[in-house]
Symmetry: C2
Subunit: 408 residues, 2 copies
Amino acid sequence: MDDRPNSIDTALRRRAAQVIPGGLWGHLDAARLPAGYPQFFRSGEGCRLTDVDGHTVIDFMCSWGPIVLGHRHPAVEEAVARQAALGDAMNGPGEVLVELAEALVGLIPAADWCLLQKNGTDATTACVTIARAGTGRRKILAARGSYHGAAPWCSPSLVGVTAEDRAHILHYEYNDIASLENAVDRAEGDLAGILVAAFRHDLGRDQEMPTPAFARRLRELADAAGAALILDEVRAGFRLDLGGSWEALGVRPDLSAWSKAIANGHALAAVTGAERFREAASAIFTTGSFWCAAVPMAAALATLAVLQRCDGPAHMQAMGGRLRAGLEAGAARHGLVIRQSGPPQMPLVLLEGDADFARGNAFCAAALRAGAYFHPKHNMFLSCAHGPTEIDEALEAAEAGFAAAARL
Amino acid sequence: MDDRPNSIDTALRRRAAQVIPGGLWGHLDAARLPAGYPQFFRSGEGCRLTDVDGHTVIDFMCSWGPIVLGHRHPAVEEAVARQAALGDAMNGPGEVLVELAEALVGLIPAADWCLLQKNGTDATTACVTIARAGTGRRKILAARGSYHGAAPWCSPSLVGVTAEDRAHILHYEYNDIASLENAVDRAEGDLAGILVAAFRHDLGRDQEMPTPAFARRLRELADAAGAALILDEVRAGFRLDLGGSWEALGVRPDLSAWSKAIANGHALAAVTGAERFREAASAIFTTGSFWCAAVPMAAALATLAVLQRCDGPAHMQAMGGRLRAGLEAGAARHGLVIRQSGPPQMPLVLLEGDADFARGNAFCAAALRAGAYFHPKHNMFLSCAHGPTEIDEALEAAEAGFAAAARL
């Protein structure tokens, strides 16, 4: 148990439990985290977060992805203030829509056009609908355990979901070509699209980068069937490669879904696509009350500019590498074996022989008290605000974590 | 055709057509409006909007609903700036979440709890999922022509939608008790919920308030079946009655979906519900990357406070009444017969004998040039920023509109 003062957090949780079912919906529910993790935050600055009881930590979740430049990045917040002084939700978009759409199409080689939305789920759902509209077919292939959003067709839970919501979803195993081919066969000529995450980041299991053979085979199978290859960039987008996470693989999707990091925390999502699906994208019905709001678009434009200027992915890769090397050495000093997987920008750290996550939880809880906010089973996120000083400071906090884990 | 300068708008549309399928997605696409309507806006202030070519008009669409206090309302933007100076998307919500949830539950008699999201579609979809989770049944009844969002289960278009997406949706006619009873029968003991819009606001047809008998029968049928009565407040919410649009009818829903006006243009949606569905609401999987962001919650809290302080619904009703009376008189002066329907806060104006909307379009195009932004076939929206002066100014612009319509 945590013995630090947390009375404000505790009081807020008690009040929240009265008016919010279960205290909080969704992935930010602190009940899913080790004891001692705060639920409520007061403020953020750069790579640091301060909770309502005044504890400041170095943040390795970045709001679970959106914060790619650091909390309250000055260039982004300046662009936001400039646009907000003019207007946000008007009866049509601002000029900034065109600038942002041009920037995305210019930045992403696979993109000939884009649509904008609010949630990652909006983007993945639109991709599926566009693939069906463009092909006149129905089946969508998705990797088992890959997360594609919180809608009845893809939610990780079946509570309140009907069998029909999933009637045309077929599963394959990530990085498993035979299972992929088998799923294509099962689609029996009715294949609209193949959905694939930028890399394998299922909860609580080692991450895997896509093998080149798997990525190429996806492209071949989609082409052979005339189906859309849909890349889910919601989680990885703008951290691995600004042009698209699979650029280095040489495999380009027909449709991509983006969200999280696109506007450094401001609510925005996007679908980008190839010319071939432009007409289908214009034919589907997709809209939302706030989708033309200008402020988040201004935030996105500023975010992309900073990411390009400072080569954000390379910076996050270097800092993620520094964290990884330090954690490896720290674990060894305590006689622990850890498994670090996935791209350095989005690390996952699991402890060997820790099936119930007891050691991982102890590691995280102790590291948190020492000043670093890690996650025991979900991939973490670096931001451009993490520099060598902050990484080294976090590694000191990790020392306390390893010591606690080693005592178990 | 419009002979006013619109070269900036034209140039932006040309650029947009290159990078956005069809030039723009969704309901803010100006191609659906009469010639002369701008697509791109520079700024908004109070009830006035200025397009990119510098034309300022009195706005009767309010971003199609979200702007309930007027564009860039100082109290809302101050609250936004205050929260933004602390943090927005963090690893959990800010204290403002609890304050907002308590405010909603305090304001809305039918609400014992709430969830927050980003889109109206998020809210209606969550209501359906909660109703299914809470009842263990599948069928959802919805009125034909009522709009419940842009997702495969409810989108007004079938492009890219499969038959299975709608497998458990049954339709009835709004305000038609016999058709409602018939739909309940067709659900054959598998009824999870009955979805109903706060009033009938189908595109291009006279609006209808719910009859008391219809509303009561909905409640009785839901109770008899143990199903959820779901009120779609996305469009009407916070304009008719801050406690819920059906308070005056004495009929309370089990679940309500809110969005648009809740945060004066900032991206937010909410589900509120009765105790009976609290457990189901905590059991479903519903989340989004930006759903805990603190800034839009601060905007909502400020918006609700201003609406309460100034009795927003009463003000908008009075100003909508003033507009209605003025339009009635103006039309008569020009020998035109108009039909005005729906609540004064959300007026629809249709011209008699105008099946192809030619006169309505001429009315709107001319009124726009004279300084008032009306819509020829969709309900419009008043805001608290519309005062007597602005209404009278808009009525002068309407004069030009009626003259143009009468010439046809």
